[in-house]
């Protein structure tokens, strides 16, 4: 095992995949400046700074992906994806289908998301659900260093466009990462903790909040199962449903706003497919439907914390 931050794990994944496959390249605003080890090893053709123009960064990745390369682009912060929506949604997500299968789009977009830096709503906005709602895309959002590495490697090898969201709050928290070559499959959730009383489903940094809540609940004699989605699209429906069939109670946790979020999707899934197993209402613990405030005290109040999860479970378990 190595101890790496997710930032380092991402660098390792990029370096390993670029070594393995000469068609992998990376570009974005400041990529060559900031990922110095990568640009030293792979040179200016494969690690590139770009002009400040997200639409053409994404479009160039899409065009290159369709014609033989496997680009990874860093779009910095999730709200900047607003400039890149046409390339991602209308081109990468649709042109395979529209063309009757003539093209594939093996590309990865990286973007940081979520609170933790206190810079407000134009840097901190969790929009992963937009891409879950859009056809032809895959969406990944890891919660620990090992998954950052293993999922990114798989995303790079996948022949479809993958949105890879990096929860900013996790980026510099060290974690254990297996030493050798390994990958983590897309579309497979991880049961982080087993329990019979309630299922907590989360992703990104909300997984840690659920783990913390589960520890508190354990002290109270309640056994919470914690599921880390890891991939938001395709969703690991089987793991979620199996857990809810076991526990009969479901709490969904994410920082993204509630309406039409990933929690809504999972609640709907369970209400459709495991209705009979449900012993209690489903509960969502999410960020509010508001822009993210900059002020540290408000940003803290914005992000779902363990105590809110504990309180929700207590209400459910009566």
């Amino acid at each position: 095992m190595l101890t790496l931050t997710p930032y380092e794990a991402i660098d390792q994944a990029l370096a390993e995949e670029m070594r393995r496959d000469p068609t992998v390249l990376m570009f974005g605003e400041g990529v060559a400046t900031k990922r110095r080890a990568l640009s030293d090893e792979f040179g200016g053709q494969r690690v590139r700074n770009t002009p400040l123009a997200e639409a053409i960064i994404a479009g160039t990745a899409v065009g290159a992906a369709a014609t033989g390369l496997r680009p990874v682009v860093d779009l910095l912060f999730a709200p900047f994806l607003c400039y890149a929506m046409d390339a991602i949604v209308n081109s990468a997500g649709k042109l395979r289908y529209v063309s009757g299968g003539q093209f594939a789009f093996p590309l990865v977009t990286l973007a940081m998301t979520g609170g933790g830096w206190g810079v407000g709503a134009q840097h901190n906005h969790n929009v992963e659900a937009w891409f879950v709602h859009s056809p032809g895309l895959k969406v990944v959002m890891p919660s620990d260093a090992a998954d950052f590495k293993g999922l990114l490697k798989t995303a790079i090898r996948d022949d479809n466009p993958v949105l890879f969201f990096v929860d900013l709050g996790l980026l510099h928290t060290p974690g254990e990462v297996p030493a050798g070559e390994f990958t983590v499959p897309l579309g497979q959730a991880a049961v982080r903790r087993e329990g019979d009383d309630v299922t907590l489903v989360a992703y990104g940094k909300s997984v840690a909040a659920c783990q913390q809540a589960a520890r508190t609940l354990a002290e109270q004699g309640r056994a919470a199962e914690v599921i880390d989605l890891r991939t938001l699209k395709p969703l690991d429906e089987a793991t979620i449903l199996a857990s809810v069939r076991k526990t009969g109670r479901l709490v969904l946790v994410h920082e993204a706003s509630r309406p039409c979020g990933v929690g809504a999707e999972i609640a709907a899934l369970v209400a459709e497919q495991a209705h009979d197993a449900l012993k209690a209402p489903i509960v969502r613990v999410t960020g509010p439907d508001a822009p993210a405030p900059a002020s540290f005290v408000l940003e803290q109040a914005f992000t779902p914390q363990a105590d809110a999860i504990v309180a929700a479970v207590q209400r459910l378990l009566g």
């Binding site: 068609t23 390249l25 053709q45 494969r46 590139r48 770009t50 002009p51 123009a53 639409a55 053409i56 994404a58 479009g59 160039t60 990745a61 899409v62 065009g63 290159a64 992906a65 369709a66 014609t67 033989g68 390369l69 680009p71 046409d86 390339a87 209308n90 081109s91 042109l95 395979r96 289908y97 529209v98 063309s99 009757g100 299968g101 003539q102 093209f103 594939a104 789009f105 093996p106 056809p135 032809g136 022949d159 479809n160």
Partner: protein, 320 residues
Amino acid sequence: MKPTHPYSDPVDQLARMLLVRAYEDRIAALAAAGPFPASCPSAGQEAAAVGVVSALGADDLILTNHRSAGHLLARGADPGRLLAEVMGRETGYCRGRSGSLHISAKELGVVLTSTIVGGELSLAPGVALARSLLGRPGIVTCFFGDGAACEGIFHESINLASVWNLPVLFVCENNEWQAYVHRRETMLTDSIAAHAAAYGVEGRSVDGNDVAAVHAAALAAAAQVRASGRPFLLEARTYRARGHLEPDDQSHVDAGELAHWQARDPIALARERLIAAGQLDLDGFARLGAEARARIDAAVEFAVQSPYPDPAELLANVYA
């Protein structure tokens, strides 16, 4: 009639223009006759399409947009498979999933067509980057309209191609219209090629209704892109002879403007030049037209006989 690329015989070029015209005339007739899937006719712009495409080599790639029939036919597309696509048939180039507005034909090197105005501009630098990095031959030609030149992505695309030394031949078909808006309502200056200089790119405008002039300019521009590995912006000044979408009565179009450009019909200009040069006579011209129409007859027949996609395959090809 799949040409070897490039093709420089002016009679071949005229024949190709006539095929495009016959194709568009037929679609207009079908659309006028009753419900028919939407399409954006390229009639009037045949010289721009044929002039550029005939200057490209077999390894070169083309990105195009909603008004693509000229580019596709000039490249050697089968009009039957095009019409089948327009009519939503399984035998179309995109198995009926595209319809008329975003037809790609990878086998012809026509890739990643987007009907989002500017979509093709966003994709072209990446296609060129892949060719450069993979050491593949050929340049990338990207067709777009004067309207697309109003989208910010035009600016981002040409700038990136310039900064990264990408072999992209940008071809703006400036046809004076952007759907229901006249170009003069959308920009104060007259030339789109004039933007090139601020990006360190060479730009040039050419009479887009003169196929020989377009062909010569495109050959020179493509040669320069090939030699330098850098972009070039070629503007073909032409005119959308029919409405934005079939059918359209063009009631919002100034009659004088229409008449001015009708008098500059690219096919008539090419015909007169060839006749004056003794390379063609009226009989020959009539024969070329008849051949083109006969191909389109057969194409319609093929399309109409073709099956619709199977709804059971509704979800095929969402993911690789």
